[in-house]
């Protein structure tokens, strides 16, 4: 039976507006890992594995030295894409611990975009764009926001969804951030009017449909249930994980079969099947929102509602606050808390099961994190109460 490994601790650095971190990216990352291990009550020297995703710059050998690790037995990363692999990194840690290859594995993401350049910004564009970018750049299609906008616009057209659905998703992130002292949008609430009056980035995304760019790091410690038994906080079991390879990527994603949607469906099927639960069983949801559009699409593709019901599903504060119909991105998420490429969502999902979120949902049995957006492979992890 899968589901033996547990999350024993979570930690994060202070989060900063992009470029404002006084610490280096590596220092931020070490801080987050140290705090996660402290939170677990474990000995830092006994960490024996590191996993991350998406071209993580803070490599395990450097970390092992800086953190005084006795022995590194597992180092791995998820290939490709973007924050879609946030939950897949947890899956790698789970695989290592459940498989017995290591017994105290840290999964993390650390970034200081002020020091290394902005994520998602087209890099290395010379006069002649290569490969996948060659099909897009000549037409001014350069950013993830623009790509997600093309999918979102078509999805809204096909299913009769208005701008209010995107607004409601953004408002939920901002409202939840007001409860979270770590959140960069704490103290900066958003109204429906401000949302609609904000400038367009790329239609149908207003400024407030887009997550900001931030500096910071977040980490969790995954270990065996035996080891977790003696720790100060009870571990949070990893009930199921899934990676889903959408059939197409990059420029392929705009072809007829894939344009009106994203690639959450196969991740959804995999996670429900592995865990033996259904969407309506989920008590609290953390869903990667680099932009609001992919959230709307993911809710339908993962089976929380029908595509035509999305607007009603998110309306009237249905995602807002601890008592929401479906508590969602309860830390504020990428938009409201900080954009740590989705890993802050993992920390929050663990806190929801432990009962120490700043926007604590009631009686949480199942807490889901979905990495996104629609770039393959997507990923999800479901935590449950011990």
């Amino acid at each position: 039976m899968h589901g033996q490994a547990v999350v024993a601790g979570v930690g994060e650095s202070t989060y900063y507006v992009r470029g404002r971190s006084p610490d280096s990216e590596f220092q931020l990352t070490c801080t987050a890992i140290r705090r996660a291990v402290e939170d677990a009550g474990l000995d830092l020297a006994k960490v024996d594995g590191f996993v991350s995703y998406m071209d993580q710059r803070n490599d395990p050998l450097r970390l092992a030295h800086a953190l005084g690790i006795d022995e590194l037995r597992w180092s791995n990363t998820c290939w490709a894409g973007g924050g879609n692999n946030a939950a897949a990194a947890v899956q790698l840690a789970d695989a290592a611990v459940s498989g017995g290859y290591a017994d105290t594995v840290v999964a993390f993401r650390g970034l200081a975009q002020g020091q290394f350049g902005r994520f998602g910004r087209p890099r290395g564009l010379s006069n002649a764009a290569q490969g996948d970018m060659g099909w897009k750049a000549p037409y001014g299609l350069l950013s993830p926001a623009q790509e997600c906008a093309l999918h979102t616009a078509r999805y809204m057209h096909d299913h009769g969804i208005s701008q209010e659905a995107l607004c409601d998703i953004s408002l939920a992130c901002y409202a939840n951030a007001q409860l979270n002292p770590r959140a960069l949008r704490n103290g900066r609430p958003l109204t429906r009017e401000e949302y609609h009056e904000s400038r367009w980035i790329v239609e149908p995304f207003h400024l407030f449909d887009c997550c900001p760019e931030n500096d910071g790091a977040a980490a969790i410690v995954v270990t065996t249930p035996e080891r977790a038994k003696d720790l100060k906080k009870s571990g949070v079991p990893i009930l199921a994980c899934a990676q889903g390879l959408g059939p197409k990527y990059g420029f392929h994603a705009f072809q007829e079969k894939y344009l009106s949607g994203m690639f959450y469906g196969n991740v959804g099927e995999a996670i429900w099947q592995r865990a033996g639960v259904k969407p309506s069983d989920v008590d609290v949801l953390q869903l990667y929102e680099n932009f609001t559009g992919p959230v709307m699409i993911a809710l339908a593709e993962m089976g929380f509602c029908e595509p035509g019901e999305v607007e009603a599903f998110v309306a009237n504060g249905a995602l807002e606050g601890p008592n929401a119909k479906l508590p969602f991105n309860t830390s504020g998420g990428n938009i409201g808390e900080a954009y740590i490429h989705g890993f802050e969502l993992v920390n929050e999902a663990v806190r929801q099961v432990r009962g120490d979120s700043t926007c604590q949902a009631k009686d949480v049995e199942l807490s889901l994190v979905v990495g996104g957006p629609g770039y393959a492979p997507g990923s999800a992890v479901l935590f449950n109460r011990a």
């Binding site: 099909w135 037409y139 001014g140 616009a153 057209h157 007829e256 344009l259």
Partner: protein, 142 residues
């Protein structure tokens, strides 16, 4: 004719996959000689039957707008003077399933919508490094 984003704007680096699209001066889509499926972007192998005999087939040059995103925030300094601009996804007549990315040259961004019929036009460009002449497919609302 000047290019939509000016003659200094990025061009594609030609390769065996995109050369037909960006130089033929007509709309061509790769099709599998064995099973007849169209695939865009082109590949070395047919994604449907795994055949390796693939040819570029000429289409009528007409199509339909399948999605549109109007860009207001330039992510590249070379586009600052061109915002807002629209990016469209166009389905290609005669190549079922195949969609292209493009811009529409004869309408303001706010006047472009899903379902509009469009016809291809071609922007001449030159790759200064290789000397290659390009004809970049673009679109006009019919």
């Amino acid at each position: 004719m000047a290019r939509h984003f000016g003659d200094d704007w990025l061009i594609p680096a030609l390769d065996p996959f995109n050369e037909s699209w960006f130089t033929a001066g007509k709309i061509t889509v790769q099709s599998c000689d064995d099973c007849g499926v169209f695939q865009h972007p082109p590949e070395d192998v047919c994604g449907s039957c795994q055949g390796t005999a693939l040819s570029f087939v000429e289409c009528s040059g007409e199509g339909t707008v399948e999605s549109v995103a109007v860009v207001h925030h330039p992510v590249h300094p070379g586009l600052s003077d061109h915002c807002p601009y629209a990016i469209v996804v166009v389905s290609l007549d005669g190549a079922p399933g195949a969609n292209a990315i493009g811009n529409i040259l004869n309408r303001d961004p706010g006047d472009i919508s899903i379902g509009q019929r469009v016809r291809a036009v071609f922007e001449p460009a030159k790759d200064a490094k290789t000397g290659a002449d390009l004809l970049i497919p673009q679109w006009e609302v019919v």
